[in-house]
Amino acid sequence: MCGIVGLYLKNDKYEDRLGELFAPMLIAMTERGPDSAGFAVYGDEVDQGVKLTLRNEDENYDWSALAKEIEAKLNTKVDWFQNSKVAVFKVDIDAETVENYLMENHQDVLIMSSGKSIEILKEVGLPERIVNLFHLENMKGSHIIGHTRMATESAVTMAGSHPFSTGMDLCLVHNGSLSNHNRLRQELKREGIHFETENDSEVAAGYLTYRLQQGDSLNEALTHALDDLDGFFTFTIGTKDGFAVVRDPIACKPAVIAETDDYVAMASEYQALTTLPGIENAKVWEPEPSKVYVWERTTH
């Protein structure tokens, strides 16, 4: 039960201002989700290897030592920076090798996201705190998806916060409540999808990962989701080059989309869009039930 917001740039006009434009959108959704907040930002893409967002609960964790260790043990190069309890590691080899190494040797390090451009940052607390903690205003990129959470059935923790990522460059935020996620989680686990929480939204993210692994396009995966996920949902999904919005067939959870020549923005409430440049003349509409809306950059 929550607020969701997303901003997808159709060209590079606002890329340097992505975080600055997005921060007030996230803060506007505070009342809908006072428990925790988070966002997935896409940008600063790596050409080679993988970018990982890593997290350690110890604020004084020695990321430098970890970077050096990975360089030595995996015979690769690591470019990294720290942001609060999170560090972004750009590693010059394939994702699986690094992820396996970390899971085997550093279980206290959580892998928040992996991909070419995604970084996921989330924390318990009010959205404004999260915005300041991670210096969202300074972030640049092509698109960004955020979430403010009012926890329903699973615990108020960082891990239970959105966005959820279970696959390369994929993330999902959700407003609503799924009603068949427990059985579906079991089925997806059998298919090799890994889950960290009991959260219904993570199952939706895992489901999309699974469908994409089966060779679905984003559009196809979301169309399948409409058949297989039961309950109430508005989803916003990010991929490396894409941005999608979909609502369940009943469509009770709010959603509004605004589009200009420069961007597509979505939010649970129009309130979150009022600070965007040119919003007065944007095309504004509510996404229809059971309809998949996808925007993808072909060249980036």
């Binding site: 509004v256 309130q271 504004v284 509409w285 509510e286 039930p289």
Partner: protein, 241 residues
């Protein structure tokens, strides 16, 4: 948050301005409610609403309220008597449970516009989202653009006029609302059927269009209403329940 009382900002023209960049929603509503017992200031303008919720709710007086900018949920909720205009988009449940008076939205309205409203007049100049006029109980609604799915669900009384298109399941489980649609209807809901447009309906529709200030030919509309098959349980209708 409030930096000055609403009464202090009254202008000599008699029009009261409330700037929500300076004052709170509570200040605004209390000031408007203070008019319920005795009318001293009839005209109000509200600046910088920025999509805030619950603006101008529970009014009970012949006030004219102009809100410049987008409003959030339930603007003009349970309105009586007042004439409220939103110069922008409106969030969910605009004019919900309105009793009398009028509400006009210059932009689009989100879902559940005019929900359960017992009376009054609602005009949406843009599109309305899903469930427009859900469980309406006597209000008249005119939408210049389109309405979303499940509009007029369980509508009991009043009229819904749609100058554009209607989404899926229009008028599902309808009671006695008169629905007029000019454009296409994606699908009709259970127990909603197209009905003959008789002179009395053309007259009713003409009056509503004129009142809304919409220049449309009533003859271009189709009328929809209840087939009244779900009024009392019949086992043969079980699939519709």
């Amino acid at each position: 948050m409030s930096t000055k009382s609403v009464a202090e900002s009254v202008t000599t023209s008699g029009k009261q301005t409330v700037d929500l960049a300076q004052q709170t929603v509570r200040d605004l509503n209390q000031a408007l409610h203070d008019q319920n017992k005795e009318l001293t200031i009839a005209e109000w303008e509200v600046l910088n609403p920025k999509g805030e919720h619950n603006l101008a709710v529970g009014l009970d007086q012949k006030l004219k309220v102009d809100i410049y900018g987008p409003v959030g949920y339930y603007c003009a909720g349970m309105n009586k008597e007042a004439d409220i205009t939103v110069h922008g988009h409106a969030g969910q449940g605009i004019a919900e449970n309105m009793m009398s008076g009028s509400v006009r939205v210059k932009g689009n309205a989100s879902s559940a516009a005019g929900a359960t409203a017992h009376g009054g007049f609602l005009v949406i100049e843009g599109d309305a989202g899903s469930r427009c006029g859900i469980s309406m109980k006597g209000i008249d609604i005119v939408v210049k653009g389109n309405v979303g799915h499940m509009s007029c669900f369980m509508g009991q009384a009043g009229s819904l006029v749609v100058c554009g298109d209607a989404g899926d399941a229009l008028g599902d489980s309808l009671y006695e609302v008169h629905i007029y649609v000019k454009g296409s209807v994606k699908s009709l809901g259970a127990d909603c059927i197209e009905k003959e447009m008789r002179q009395e309906h053309l007259d009713e529709l003409s009056a509503l269009l004129e009142k809304a200030g919409v220049d449309e030919d009533p003859k271009a509309f189709k009328r929809y209403g209840s087939a009244r098959q779900l009024y009392n349980f019949k086992v043969d209708n079980a699939s519709a329940y």
